[in-house]
């Protein structure tokens, strides 16, 4: 290398170093935050939260790495394997356990003490969900529940009373039949026959996927078979719920919004969509049960990457994002799920919004919450059960046969 080139290289190197100096001078920490749940609907909300946080914490800069749900987990796994994962990131409750069990996450308890952060602002149920083996490996970011959405116009036409909190499965079927009678292309209810609905519906009948200490599968118990029978009967026997062929690939939200179905079972994350899209008057109720009530509880939480070098800054960001009043109010105003906080003013602000009228049902449902049956091989378990549920829905197998087969395959493949 000639002397001239060498000096040019030195000048370049010095310039590069100089560029990084101002950042060091201000002692500003930059943390990266991987997330999926903002999606395109709430991208602006998340950006507003980040701006508010940075204003209050001038020593921290947050870089948002936003990815769609479909790609998110694949990307995250690759990043973890390659050592380039974000400092902190979002996980849904179902994947949280798998990541905690594989030692990918930081125990936040001791870290909170050294950082001087408290978890007291959280709703206790939501906070507990992100414990694994007694340790707080994450904080809840938002939660959602599943409700019975109903079309008031169709109930009026069929001359039947609106659903209330005392309803059971039988009431659903009776009301469904009367609404089905209104027209050839009008259906009573749509409740997908899949894993998520299944583990909740069996809970409404006193059943469970496992025995008490989670050492054995009990998928083909009598309670579970009865519950699946109920789910399948709505489709095949009563046909108050459209078969897949009758539904013809239309989304359940779309057919409800178009006024073609009297009731659907879906989450409070549908509020924003229905507000604009529904062509009918609608409201919600706590979901009917059978021997007992049971309501889905879903939560997305925030965790810190085990190999991150900026854990304190990351903790300050994720706790602010999930439990500060400022960010909670931004979340409520945007209708982006429900903030996991105990602050009355936030909760009242959420309940006061319209539609639906009966927003209180979101909090009433928490009394009966059923959390996802998380185990390390969650996704694989869900796929095995799903396949058999579909076979029952298509009438290829009876509920008994389907669940017997699911039980056998689960015992072979899933470690509890």
């Amino acid at each position: 290398m000639s002397r001239r080139r060498l000096s040019l290289a030195v000048v370049c190197a010095v310039l590069v170093v100089l560029c990084t100096v101002p950042a060091l001078g201000a002692q500003k920490v930059t943390i990266t935050f991987g997330n999926f749940s903002a999606g395109s609907d709430n991208e602006a909300t998340l950006a507003a939260m980040k701006a508010a946080f940075e204003k209050a914490n001038p020593d921290i800069e947050v870089k948002l790495h936003s990815t769609g749900y479909g790609e998110y987990f694949r990307l995250l796994q690759t990043q973890i394997a390659g050592g380039t994962a974000p400092d902190c990131y979002e996980l849904n409750y179902e994947n949280f356990v798998a990541f905690a069990a594989k030692n990918a996450l930081v125990d936040l308890g001791p870290l909170a003490k050294t950082t001087g952060v408290s978890f007291s602002g959280y709703d206790a149920n939501a906070l507990d969900a992100f414990k694994y083996n007694g340790k707080q490996f994450g904080v809840p970011g938002s939660y959602s529940v599943v409700l019975l959405f109903y079309n008031k116009d169709l109930f009026d036409q069929a001359k039947i009373p609106y659903p209330n909190d005392d309803w059971t499965w039988n009431d659903v079927i009776e009301a469904g039949k009367k609404i089905r009678a209104l027209g050839d292309d009008i259906f009573g209810i749509y409740q997908p026959v899949q894993f998520w609905e299944f583990y909740k519906t069996i809970a409404q009948n006193g059943g469970s996927l496992f025995n008490g200490d989670q050492t054995k599968f009990t998928v083909n118990s009598p309670e579970n078979i009865e519950a699946l029978q109920y789910m399948v009967d709505k489709v095949i026997k009563h046909n108050i719920q459209p078969t897949e062929a009758q539904k013809s690939g239309q989304g359940d939200w779309d057919i409800f919004a178009a006024g073609k179905v009297g009731m659907i079972v879906t989450g409070n994350w549908a509020f924003t969509f229905m507000k604009d899209a529904a062509k009918c008057r609608w409201d919600v109720a706590v979901e009917p049960g059978n021997t007992q009530k049971g309501c889905h509880f879903f939560s997305n939480g925030y965790v810190i990457n085990e190999s991150s070098k900026k854990q304190e800054a990351a903790l300050r960001w994720i706790t602010w994002l999930s439990s500060s009043q400022e960010s909670s109010m931004l979340r409520v105003e945007a209708g982006w799920e429900t903030p996991p906080v105990s602050d009355e003013s936030v909760i009242n602000a959420y309940v006061a919004q319209r539609p639906p009228e009966n927003r209180k049902a979101v909090f009433d449902s928490l009394k009966y919450l059923v959390t996802p049956p998380v185990i390390e091989q969650f996704n694989e378990m869900a796929a095995i059960v799903d396949l058999q549920l579909e076979k029952a829905r298509e009438g290829e197998k009876t509920p008994q046969q389907a669940l017997d087969d699911a039980q056998r395959e689960l015992e072979q493949k899933i470690k509890l």
Partner: protein
């Protein structure tokens, strides 16, 4: 271009090849070898791989799922390959004639080949829709009530095959067209003088003379069929009730959704072995029907 002599020439050639060779080694060859190693481990991406010997292969060959998925893959091949051969040879014969606008037709039939499978699959989901789909509306005109295609376990695979044939027929027709153009017209003239019918000319002249192409198309399309994935993933995601779960779909699910890279790698190597054996068998059988002396 002058690129030097002897040693220097070799260096120059290597320098130009290096980007491709390096890319092949880093992104294909080394990962392939590594997946062979991984197939003997229980790697779950997040934790270090643990050696489990032949365990993955034992579970795989003993599982009901593997054989079900192989049956579905076979169903796809049995429906797809013959239909695709007939359609592409037929299309090539039509395009081999001289008529106005033949160039435009070639472009039209080739367009699907260039279309992305994601876009194509999404459109085909609507084309095959039970109530509003184009296919069932057309069937309705001739008094046939169309099936619920992708929503029915017996009709979902034929639906995927239809979309796949639409996508690939242009490509294979182009290859057949090349073969047809290469046939010496004197054969047909001689046959006409002997009074051969159109069918006889096709059966005894065209078919034997394009048989090397037919052989090539059969082998490549069977290999491709074993790896059918994108259209399945988007059109049915393996459903309904698992009726369209194929082997690639399982590899994807095990690797990226169930955290079982080791098992997924084992599946990949079993798939490789199956494709290898079937291709070798075809290679030996070609003596009986492929005619190389045009």
């Amino acid at each position: 271009m002058y690129i030097g002599k002897g040693r220097q020439r070799q260096t120059t050639i290597m320098a130009f090849l290096a980007p491709t060779v390096l890319g092949f080694l880093v992104f294909s060859f080394i990962p392939i070898l590594r997946s062979l190693y991984l197939s003997f481990t229980s790697w779950d991406i997040l934790q270090p791989a643990e050696w489990v010997g032949l365990e993955n292969y034992r579970i795989l060959l003993g599982s009901e799922e593997f054989w079900r998925v192989m049956r579905n893959t076979a169903e796809y091949i049995v429906l797809y390959v013959p239909l695709m051969l007939i359609m592409s040879l037929g299309l090539a014969s039509l395009l081999n004639r001289e008529f106005r606008g033949v160039g435009a037709y070639k472009v039209l039939f080739f367009l699907p080949v260039l279309t992305s499978w994601v876009a194509g699959s999404l459109i085909w989901r609507w084309i095959l829709n039970h109530k509003y789909g184009l296919v069932n509306i057309l069937l309705g005109y001739i008094g046939i009530e169309g099936p619920p295609w992708l929503d029915h376990r017996l009709w979902a695979m034929p639906g995927i095959v239809l979309a796949s044939v639409w996508k690939d027929v242009g490509f294979f027709a182009l290859i057949f067209l090349g073969a047809l153009k290469g046939i010496n017209l004197e054969y047909y003239e001689a046959a006409e003088i002997d009074g051969a019918s159109r069918w006889a000319k096709f059966r005894y002249i065209t078919l034997p003379l394009v048989s090397p192409t037919t052989f090539f198309v059969t082998i490549t399309s069977i290999i491709n069929s074993f790896q059918v994935f994108a259209q399945v993933q988007i059109m049915t995601n393996g459903g309904p009730a698992g009726a369209t779960q194929v082997i690639m779909e399982r590899i994807y699910k095990y690797a990226f959704q169930f955290f079982k890279m080791g098992y997924a790698s084992a599946l990949s190597w079993v798939l490789f072995a199956i494709i290898l054996v079937i291709t070798l068998v075809q290679w030996h059988l070609q003596k009986r029907w492929v005619f190389y002396d045009g």
